[in-house]
């Protein structure tokens, strides 16, 4: 249960070792580099942004190639493949791939170019198809498409904008009082257009065309010297050529796809290099030496020093960090508790001087989560699912693994509470027994059934809440004592404890409480006196001591009174734990609703089929929605009620310089 202790590490070495040292640090991944402030005389920084950009671009190109390969030669991926995590790859295999990086880069480029070529082909094919569609009505015309005429005659090729027969066209000419010799042949006619070829003497052309134009005639400016039929054939030929080419490229893609693994390595290689150059750009360098400083967890410091000093001829110095300096935070907990690190992390890592709440929180988290979901079968399902995933995908990414482990534990706790309250898919056992077997069987609750006695569970919920809150206040006190502020601890924590415990002791034997709990508590007389004393000491103490930093006595007491008003906060905090009851009941009752609905068709085969159908859908939904509810509200109880007592967060996470890869994790052999 702790925040890892950080130390500062300073490394100085000759420039010739620079590459090796940086690579070693990167592969160890335990140092967060502090960018050089650039104030040292005689040192300067290198501008590496151009190289860095180049490497990032290369990595992006390879990624793009991989995406294209996935599109044309899909790799089979299971539904749960996202759980697998990045593969581990031996150092040697990685280095081997690097030696051939030029080859693989050309593969990546070829893939990208091929995709471009395919896109072009596709566009060209579409264009040609449009052309063919335009020419098709002219199929029966047996002269070259760009014919304009002979020495004496003009040939007009064009369309009229609706359907005409040959006679109708001649009639049009008569209508317009044209009596020049004209030869017309209709090539094709459809509802929207009539394609025709008209031959007339050159001197009549203008007149004839003008006459027809009134009726919607327009020349079609073909350029091809071929007849339409011939032209279409050539276009079709070209299309099939392009299609063939595309097919060839596709086939080539599947050849190229065998390089997929190596392309991934290459992409990660350039990603690693880009990061290295980013760090290199922040180093202080002189003519012959370079200098680097960073944070390193104490437990890893020895290893780093050993490696750099003995193997790489560097001068390394490790120093403790002065108290007041803000250091990056890395949490370290036991196997069970580290599963809630993600939850702490999303609230905020411990700030300077705060303790890591993970350890204590982990127990409460699992406990409260189970209480909210509280159904043995649901707990079993969640635990089994998470357990199987954990066993089946041992290489899962760390963060995901921790979350799934958390749900595994929460499932166990849910199972426990489910048995305590006698919930197994709600009241499934008794419903099935009475519907199909006509007997009375119930799963006995080990403790009690909440729906029969909600008041009792409400009181227990508040009791658990009180323990949780007192734990929070206790941690606040612990932190003050640790920092040597004994008096502050007494005033700010001790007095509150006295006040609250006194109040509780006064409340429990009262008639009000008896009517709620349905049971009268009688305390011995001395306890009553102690309760009154504690309450009064606490109350007066808080009024007087809360504002102790103010000189003005009136202001001091006003502040004290305001602080006492904080008791309402405590009341609402404790009441807030009533959600344990509400959510627990919600799971159970909705499960019962599902079971009741499912059993409506009675027994028999049809009834059983209907039962199973409703059962599956209903309980899946109930589990999903209550899992969400339990997760959200457990978080809320931790964040608002528990953390509210002692924890602020806001620490900066430890971000070591390491190999941030996308596809593989490189195994180092040391």
């Amino acid at each position: 249960m702790a925040v890892l202790k950080m130390q500062k590490i300073n490394i100085c070495s000759m420039k010739k070792n620079r590459k090796q040292i940086l690579e070693t640090i990167q592969s160890m991944g335990v140092i967060q580099i502090i960018p050089d402030s650039g104030n040292e005389q005689g040192f300067h920084k290198m501008d590496t942004s151009a190289q860095r950009f180049q490497f990032e671009k290369t990595a992006a190109t390879v990624d793009q190639a991989l995406e294209i390969l996935q599109k044309y030669v899909p790799e089979k991926q299971g539904m749960l493949s996202s759980l697998e995590g990045r593969k581990y790859v031996d150092h040697q295999i990685f280095d081997q791939a690097m030696e051939n990086k030029r080859l693989y880069l050309s593969v990546a480029n070829e893939v990208v170019q091929s995709e471009k070529k395919m896109a072009e082909n596709h566009a060209n094919i579409l264009k040609m198809q449009v052309k063919i569609d335009n020419i098709r009505p002219w199929m029966n015309m047996d002269i070259p498409m760009n014919t304009t005429g002979t020495k004496k005659t003009d040939v007009l090729i064009g369309t009229l904008d609706r359907e005409y027969t040959l006679e109708q066209v001649y009639e049009l000419l008569v209508q317009e009082k044209i009596d020049a010799p004209v030869d017309i042949s209709i090539v094709s006619a459809s509802k929207n257009q009539t394609c025709l070829v008209l031959i007339c003497l050159k001197r009549d052309t203008g007149m004839v065309e003008e006459a027809l134009r009134i009726h919607g005639f327009a020349r079609v400016p073909f350029l091809s010297r071929k007849t339409p039929k011939h032209r279409i054939e050539t276009l079709l030929d070209k299309i099939s050529q392009l299609e063939e080419e595309t097919e060839k490229i596709k086939a080539r893609m599947s050849d190229l796809a065998v390089n997929r693994e190596d392309l991934r390595l290459i992409s990660d290689y350039f990603r690693i290099r880009a990061e290295k150059y980013g760090v290199l750009g922040g180093l202080a360098q002189s003519q012959n030496v370079f200098f680097l400083s960073g944070y390193v967890p104490e437990r890893d410091a020895g290893k780093v020093v050993d490696k750099l000093e003995n193997n790489l001829d560097a001068l390394v110095e490790v120093e403790d960090i002065p108290e007041e300096e803000e250091v990056p935070v890395q949490l370290s907990n036991n196997h069970f508790s580290e599963s809630v690190e993600g939850i702490v992390d999303s609230f905020g890592l411990p700030h300077k001087g705060e303790i890591d709440p993970t350890f204590i929180m982990s127990f409460f988290y699992v406990f409260l989560f189970g209480l909210m979901l509280s159904d043995a079968a649901y707990g079993l399902i969640v635990s089994l699912a998470c357990g199987i995933v954990l066993l089946k995908f041992p290489n899962m990414e760390d963060g995901l693994k921790k979350s799934i482990r958390l749900f595994f534990y929460c499932g166990l706790s849910t199972l426990f509470w489910g048995l305590m309250f006698g919930g197994f898919f709600g009241d499934l056992i008794s419903v099935v027994a009475s519907t199909f077997f006509h007997t009375e069987v119930t799963l006995p609750a080990l403790w009690f059934v909440p729906l029969d006695d909600p008041m009792r569970l409400l009181l227990y919920s508040m009791l658990f809440g009180l323990i949780h809150l007192f734990m929070g206040l206790g941690i606040k006190g612990y932190m003050m004592i640790r920092d040597g502020k004994y008096l502050d601890c007494l005033w700010d924590v001790g007095l509150w404890f006295a006040f609250l415990i006194g109040l509780i002791l006064l409340l429990v034997p009262s008639d009000l409480f008896a009517s709620i709990a349905g049971q009268k508590f009688v305390f011995p007389a001395f306890l009553g006196v102690i309760a009154k004393v504690l309450t009064l000491v606490g109350l007066i103490g808080i009024i007087w001591m809360s504002g102790r930093r103010k000189k003005n006595p009136a202001l001091r007491i006003a502040l004290g009174l305001y602080d006492v008003y904080g008791i309402t906060g405590w009341l609402s905090d404790v009441l807030s734990y009533s959600r344990l009851l509400a959510l627990g009941l919600a799971t159970g009752v909705i499960a019962e609703v599902v079971n009741t609905m499912a059993s409506m068709m009675g027994d028999g085969v049809l009834g059983a089929i209907f039962f199973i159908f409703v059962f599956l859908i209903g309980h899946t939904m109930n589990l999903a929605i209550n899992l969400l509810g339990a997760y959200v509200h457990t978080n809320r109880l931790q964040y608002v009620e528990f953390f509210g007592k002692f924890y602020e967060g806001g620490g900066k996470p430890f971000a070591p310089f390491k190999q941030h890869t996308k596809y593989v994790r490189i195994k180092e052999d040391h």
């Binding site: 729906l451 807030s576 009533s578 909705i590 019962e592 964040y639």
Partner: protein
Amino acid sequence: MSDLGIVFALLGAATAVLLAGAGSAIGVGIAGQAAAGVVTEDPGKFAKVLILQLLPGTQGIYGLLVGFIVLSNIGLLGGGVADISLQTGLLIFAACLPIGLVGLISAIFQGRTAVASIGIVAKKPDQFAKSMLFPAMVETYAILALLISILSVTSIKI
């Protein structure tokens, strides 16, 4: 007059389910519109915004819960309807009001808060845990109302 008892009891169950359910429908609806907007920009945030969209859905479940307890208490589900006096009927009706009304209002406001939280996820996905907290705050009051409704409904002797 005494026949009206069962009517009021059923009216109570209906009120709880109806108002709380309507509130949740509105809340989940407006949150869903915001969620859909985020997913058009970045489909990767689907799971996160879906969780936020679902948060105002619980009031409907609380209403159902109270409604169901009422129905099973007055024996409508088992077939043997209990003999309920007018006074008991009205008591049940009153007991159902908190979750009905608070459910309606809190679900709508929780929906609006969820919309704002979806905005957080759209811009800063790493702040998801905190964004979940704001709608959860509103829910507290629905839970308190649920508590009183359940406690009253279960303690009314039939």
